[in-house]
Structures are given as structure tokens and as C-alpha cells.
Amino acid sequence: MIDASQCAFDAREPWHLSPLVSLRDEEFGAMAYHHGNRRLVFLKSRKLVDVVRELHEHESADAAIDALVGDDDHAQYIAALASLAKSEVLCVG
């Protein structure tokens, strides 16, 4: 079982929002609260929230970002998803 908080983020894998997370839309993006580890995370872009909500529909994180985000910002969104994976907000698979 991969411990998401320890491994580097692999964007070629499929990822999804953890079922232990409540994701609440805000005007600026969203707040995410993980009921397991009690962490509270602030997502600072609406587009990032869209990516996170649709992540499970794509075969990889890369594909999800490609579908919603321009090439110039790809790295920025990878970094954001990696940060969310580290907080266990996102799970692999």
C-alpha cells in the first residue's frame, strides 16, 4: 500500500479525492478538511477545484490536468496536486 505522504507524486497514476475529505466550494477556490488526519487545506483556484473534482474520471493526474488546464500551467497544477497528495487529500488508484 503506497503511503502517499512519503512517496514523490507520480502524475502518471490515476488519483482521486479521498472519501475522508469534505471539499467545500468558496468564492476563491475551496476548503478541504480531512476527517482522518484533521488537516485543513485551502485550494486557491477554482480551476484547481475542478481538476480535483474530476480527477477520478481520468486515467492519470497528467490527463486530468491536460483536459482542464493550459500547457503553461501544467507544472503549477502538478505541484498543487502533489501537495494535496502529501496531505492525503488525494489518494492513488
Binding site: 469534505s22 476548503m31 476527517h35 486557491k44
Partner: protein, 371 residues
């Protein structure tokens, strides 16, 4: 720290729903702590019923408020306590509750340990009975320790030990740290405010300036010690402490009291800070439309703190501390680290100190032996 300050700015303007809120389930209490922020003791006959309380939980869940901090009085005294918290966790609303521990026996500890989405905070006011019982009553420290033992024996996992910093307890920081370590518990230190019955003991119990400075440095070295961001007024001393360092009242948190009144936070139970009542048109309506909350979400002005270079760090301190010492909200915090609060207090000769309202204190003394 620019992103952190933009986050702070967002929060100061308020969110569509609180991140969490405090819900005092009852004003009834089997203790009579001298500094009780809610002046608890006697049950209010107008308390929310079980069905009203469950409907409120449903609304909290619908608003996606992430968790509720349950307190009182002593919340476990309510006969529907377990029913309510189980209802909340079944709706995926996290529950953190604060208790004196008198009702946590082995059976309760096992029941609590079986629940998910649940955190517990046991309150003491000293690292030994001699210190703690002075505030909380004879036998209260022993009860709290028994509760901790039961939680440990039932494999509850990590609970919190919560201590209000008074002139006496603040001398026992290392002992509290050791106590928490011995249980594998988290330590949570909270600021004493002159709220509720706290107004009567504030002068004798609030820490001295030197003690506050020593606490600040002790906390800086221990980012794992929780504070509920209650010492942000000390951040004017230098590097900011952990947390957002801002007042969340009416912006990202609030209080719902046992009769459904909504206040800006648990430390300002007074008409001046009453935003509405959930019985009128629900909680969402109060959160979104209350004129009190709208005004709290306006950008604040530094007031008397305008010429102080540290305003950005401390934001003028705590509303409750100012209000209940007779200061106005644009005065400095009474515990301003530079002494500006003490100066302000000295110039107010005819201080009219607001009385706690409502006051549910018992009129007779309490014996801890009774369960």
C-alpha cells in the same frame, strides 16, 4: 509569508460558512469553575430539544461545516449526549468535545473509543490537585485524571489536555508537557479571558507581562503545543506563533449556545455580540445575514493602535478581553505586550464593566462527590 497573509485577509472577510463552530450543549454543569467563560451551572429550561439539536446538526452538515466543538457547561450531562454526537458523526460532521471528565468512566471511554470523527479534550487548570482544584473544585483534578486513564485503557488514541493559562498554571508548563507526554496526549494551552465568571477573577488570575513573555518563548520552541490561536496578541513580541494570528469571531467561527442563540464566539456571551437565534430561521440565515457578523467582516481599523508598528502582528488583540475589562474595541488589548492596554485601563476612571449575560451560575456551592 505573503500567501499566509492573503489567507488571513480572506478569512477576515468571512467565509460562506464557518470552518467550525463551538456549540455549548447545555448550561448545566456539575462543577463551578471560578473562571467559567459561559457562567454555567444551572440548566436553562429553554434548551434546544433533542429534535431541535438534531435538526441543527443536519443544517451544519448541509452547510459543510467541517466540525463542531462541543462544550457547555458539561456536555456529557445531557441525557442525549451520545445520541447527538453519534448523529453528527454519522453525517460526517467531525466532533471535538470539551469535558471535565467526571462522566468518562470505563464504559463511556469504550463507547467513545469505538467512534470515528471524534476528538476529546479534558480540561484541567493545574498540573496537580493543589493548583487545579482551587479553580475547579475539590476532587476535580482526580476526576480528570481518572478520565484520562479510562481513555488510555480503552485505547481511545490521542486526546487533548486543555489548560487555561492563569498566573498559577503558567508556572507549570513543563509539568503539563510531561503529563501530556505520559498519556501520548496533545497539550492545548488557552488564554484566560475576562469572560463569564472570568470577569470576577481576571485581576488576580491573568498572567503578568513577564509570564506572558516567558510563555511566548516557551511556545515558540514547541510548535506542537496547541493554542487555539488564542495567544495571537503575543505575536507582537516577534516571530508569529502557530496559527492564523487573527480573531475568527463571526468570520470563520462562532458560538451556538444551549438555547440556540448565536454569538460571535464563546468568549463574548453578551447581548452586544448576539447575532441571532437558530429558532428564528435556522443557523445559515444568522451566519449569512446578521448585521453583527457583517460588521465584523468589514476591514477593521487600528483605532488607538494606529501608531504602533506591531498592529499587523496582533491586530489589536482580543475583542472579549477588551469588552469585559471596560475598554472599547478600538483600544489596545488589556494585555498588550507593550503595556498600552494597561495605560488605556488606567485612564478609564469610571469603568463600566459589562456583566456576563446570561448568567447561569449556581447560587449554592457544588460538591464534586455527586455524579
Amino acid at each position: 509569508m505573503s500567501a499566509n497573509s492573503s489567507l488571513r485577509n480572506r478569512f477576515e472577510r468571512g467565509l460562506s460558512a464557518p470552518i467550525c463552530l463551538t456549540w455549548e450543549l447545555t448550561y448545566a454543569c456539575n462543577l463551578a469553575c471560578t473562571h467559567c467563560l459561559s457562567s454555567s451551572g444551572r440548566r436553562d429550561p429553554r434548551e434546544l430539544s433533542t429534535s431541535e439539536a438534531k435538526a441543527l446538526v443536519d443544517e451544519i452538515a448541509a452547510m459543510q461545516i467541517f466540525y463542531i466543538n462541543i462544550g457547555g457547561g458539561e456536555p456529557m450531562i445531557r441525557s442525549d449526549f451520545f445520541e447527538l454526537i453519534e448523529h453528527a458523526v454519522s453525517r460526517h460532521v467531525g466532533v471535538k468535545f470539551s469535558t471535565n471528565g467526571t462522566r468518562i468512566d470505563a464504559v463511556a471511554a469504550r463507547r467513545l473509543s469505538s467512534m470515528d470523527y471524534l476528538d476529546i479534550q479534558i480540561s484541567i487548570d493545574g498540573a496537580d490537585a493543589a493548583t487545579s482544584d482551587k479553580i475547579r473544585g475539590v476532587g476535580s483534578y482526580a476526576s480528570a485524571r481518572r478520565a484520562m486513564d479510562h481513555l488510555r485503557d480503552a485505547n481511545f488514541g490521542q486526546f487533548k489536555i486543555s489548560v487555561v493559562m492563569t498566573r498559577e498554571s503558567i508556572e507549570q508548563l513543563d509539568e503539563f508537557e510531561a503529563l501530556a507526554t505520559s498519556y501520548g496526549a496533545e497539550l492545548r494551552l488557552m488564554r484566560l479571558r475576562p469572560s463569564g465568571r472570568g470577569v470576577d477573577v481576571w485581576d488576580e488570575l491573568h498572567p503578568t507581562q513577564q509570564q506572558n513573555r516567558d510563555l511566548y518563548h516557551w511556545l515558540l520552541e514547541r510548535p506542537n503545543v496547541l493554542t487555539g490561536d488564542s495567544f495571537f496578541h503575543l505575536s507582537a513580541l516577534g516571530a508569529p506563533l502557530e496559527g492564523l494570528n487573527l480573531c475568527g469571531a463571526g468570520r470563520v467561527v462562532c458560538l451556538i449556545d444551549p438555547v440556540g442563540d448565536v454569538y460571535a464566539c464563546p468568549f463574548v456571551i453578551h447581548d452586544e455580540f448576539l447575532a441571532g437565534n437558530v429558532r428564528d430561521a435556522g443557523f445559515q440565515n444568522v451566519w449569512s445575514n446578521s448585521s453583527l457578523f457583517k460588521s465584523l467582516r468589514e476591514p477593521g481599523s487600528p483605532g488607538a493602535c494606529v501608531s504602533c508598528g506591531s498592529y499587523d502582528a496582533c491586530r489589536g488583540g482580543c475583542m472579549a478581553a477588551k469588552f469585559f475589562t471596560g475598554l472599547s474595541l478600538d483600544d489596545p488589548d488589556p494585555e498588550c505586550v507593550f503595556g498600552h492596554g494597561e495605560e488605556a485601563l488606567a485612564t478609564k476612571r469610571l469603568q463600566i464593566i459589562p456583566k456576563p449575560s446570561p448568567d447561569h451560575s449556581r447560587r449554592t456551592s457544588v460538591s464534586i462527590g455527586a455524579r
